[in-house]
C-alpha cells in the first residue's frame, strides 16, 4: 500500500524557502530532466503552480510535497481536494508569512471532524 519507491521530498515555494531546502539536499533531477522543486515568484502564473502541483501528486516517487502557505493560498481549492494519503502535502511558513494554522487544509479537516464529533 505505501509506495516503497516514494522517497523524494518535493518543494513549491518562494525563492528563499526553496533554496534553503535545496541546500539541505532535497533537490533532485531525474533522468527525464524533471525536477522536484518549483520556485514561485510574483511573475509565476497560477496555472503553472497548479500544473506543477498536479504533476507532483501524480508522480510515484514523491512522498512529501512541501508548499509555503503563501503559494498554497493561491491553489487552495486543489489542496483542499487532495485527500489521498500519498503524497502528503505539508504547508510550511515562509520568511514573510509566519505559519497560520487557520489556513492549513489538514487542520481545517480536523476542525470539521471535531466540529461534528
Amino acid at each position: 500500500m505505501a509506495g516503497k519507491d516514494r522517497s523524494l521530498i518535493a518543494v513549491i515555494g518562494d525563492e528563499d524557502s526553496v533554496t534553503g531546502l535545496l541546500l539541505a539536499g532535497v533537490g533532485h533531477i531525474d533522468n527525464k530532466q524533471r525536477s522536484n522543486f518549483l520556485v514561485v515568484d510574483a511573475k509565476t502564473p497560477v496555472e503553472k503552480i497548479e500544473q506543477t502541483f498536479a504533476d507532483f501528486t501524480k508522480r510515484k516517487d514523491i512522498a512529501i510535497i512541501l508548499i509555503t502557505q503563501a503559494v498554497a493560498d493561491d491553489i487552495r481549492p486543489m489542496i483542499d481536494d487532495h485527500s489521498e494519503a500519498f503524497p502528503t502535502v505539508l504547508e510550511i511558513p515562509s520568511k514573510d508569512h509566519p505559519y497560520d494554522p487557520a489556513k492549513d487544509s489538514v487542520l481545517k479537516r480536523i476542525q470539521r471532524l471535531f466540529g461534528e464529533a
Binding site: M1, A2, G3, K4, R6, S7, L8, I9, E15, D16, S17, V18, T19, G20, L21, L22, L23, A24, G25, V26, G27, H28, I29, S35, N36, F37, V39, A63, I64, L66, S83, E84, A85, F86, T88, V89, L90, I92, P93, S94, K95, P98, Y99, P101, D104, V106, L107, R109, I110, L113, F114
Partner: protein
C-alpha cells in the same frame, strides 16, 4: 401479521429457524467487535491529532530559525540561490516509508535518511563557507521535523478513511442486517405457529365429522334393533356390519 419490514426469503421450516438464530448471534458478535475496533481507532486518531497540532507549531518555529540562518548567509555570502538550484542533481535527503500495524490498520511512517555524499561540499561557496554549512544544518534539522509531521499527517488521513469505513459497517449491521434477521425469525415463528394451528383445527374437524357419522350409525342401529325385538325375530347381530364405512373415500 408480524414480519413487517424487509426480511430474508426463506422457507418457514424449523431448520431455517435455527439457521437464522445462528446468523443473528454471528451478526451481534460481529457488531460488538467492530464497534470496539472503531473505538480503539478513534482513540488513536485523537492522539495523532494532538501530536499533529504540537508538531505544526514546532515546525513553525524551526522554519523561522532556518530562515534566519539563510538570511545570514545571504548577508555574508551574497545570493547563492542560483548556484544551489543549478547544482541540484540527486537528492541526498530521502525518505523511506515503513508500515506499522496499529489495531489492524497498516499505518505508514516516514524515515529520513541521507543517500550518497554531500554534493555541496565542493560548491565554490568559499567565503563564509561556515555560514553556509550552518544554514545547511538548520535546514536539515527542519527537514527532520517536517518528515515527522508528514508521517503523522499520512497516518491521520489513512486512519480517517478506515474509521469512516468501520463506522459505516457498524451502522449497516446495526440498522439493516440485524433487524432483517430478527424480522425473518419472527415471521418464521408466526408461520410455524399458524401451521400448528391449522393442523390442530384440521384434526378437530376430522374428529367431529367422525363423531357425527358414528352417532348417526348408532341411532340407525338402535332403530333397527328396536323393530326386530318387536317382531320376536332373532336379532341379526351381524346386521350392524352391513354398512361398510369407506376408509379412504369419505
Amino acid at each position: 401479521m408480524s414480519g413487517a419490514g424487509p426480511r430474508l426469503a426463506v422457507f418457514p421450516t424449523r431448520m431455517a429457524l435455527t439457521a437464522m438464530k445462528n446468523r443473528l448471534n454471528g451478526a451481534q458478535t460481529g457488531h460488538s467487535l467492530l464497534k470496539r475496533k472503531s473505538e480503539a481507532l478513534t482513540r488513536r486518531f485523537r492522539e495523532i491529532v494532538k501530536k499533529i497540532d504540537e508538531a505544526k507549531r514546532k515546525m513553525g518555529k524551526v522554519m523561522q530559525v532556518a530562515s534566519f540562518s539563510y538570511a545570514e548567509v545571504k548577508y555574508s555570502t551574497g545570493d547563492i540561490g542560483y548556484q544551489v538550484r543549478e547544482s541540484a542533481k540527486s537528492a541526498q535527503l530521502k525518505v523511506r516509508a515503513k508500515t506499522e500495524n496499529v489495531s489492524g490498520v497498516q499505518l505508514p511512517a516516514f524515515d529520513m535518511y541521507i543517500d550518497g555524499q554531500n554534493a555541496f561540499e565542493l560548491t565554490g561557496l568559499g567565503r563564509g563557507g561556515q555560514q553556509v554549512q550552518k544554514c545547511k544544518d538548520t535546514y536539515a534539522k527542519a527537514c527532520e521535523v517536517l518528515v515527522e509531521l508528514a508521517s503523522l499527517q499520512t497516518a491521520f488521513v489513512i486512519l480517517d478513511e478506515v474509521i469512516k469505513v468501520t463506522n459505516r459497517r457498524v451502522n449497516a449491521i446495526e440498522h439493516v442486517i440485524i433487524p432483517r434477521i430478527e424480522n425473518t425469525i419472527r415471521w418464521i415463528t408466526s408461520e410455524l405457529d399458524e401451521q400448528d394451528r391449522e393442523e390442530f383445527f384440521r384434526l378437530k374437524k376430522v374428529q367431529n365429522k367422525k363423531k357425527v357419522v358414528r352417532d348417526e350409525n348408532d341411532r340407525a342401529r338402535e332403530a333397527v334393533e328396536g323393530g326386530a325385538t318387536a317382531d320376536n325375530a332373532p336379532s341379526n347381530i351381524l346386521s350392524q356390519y352391513d354398512i361398510d364405512e369407506d376408509v379412504i373415500f369419505r
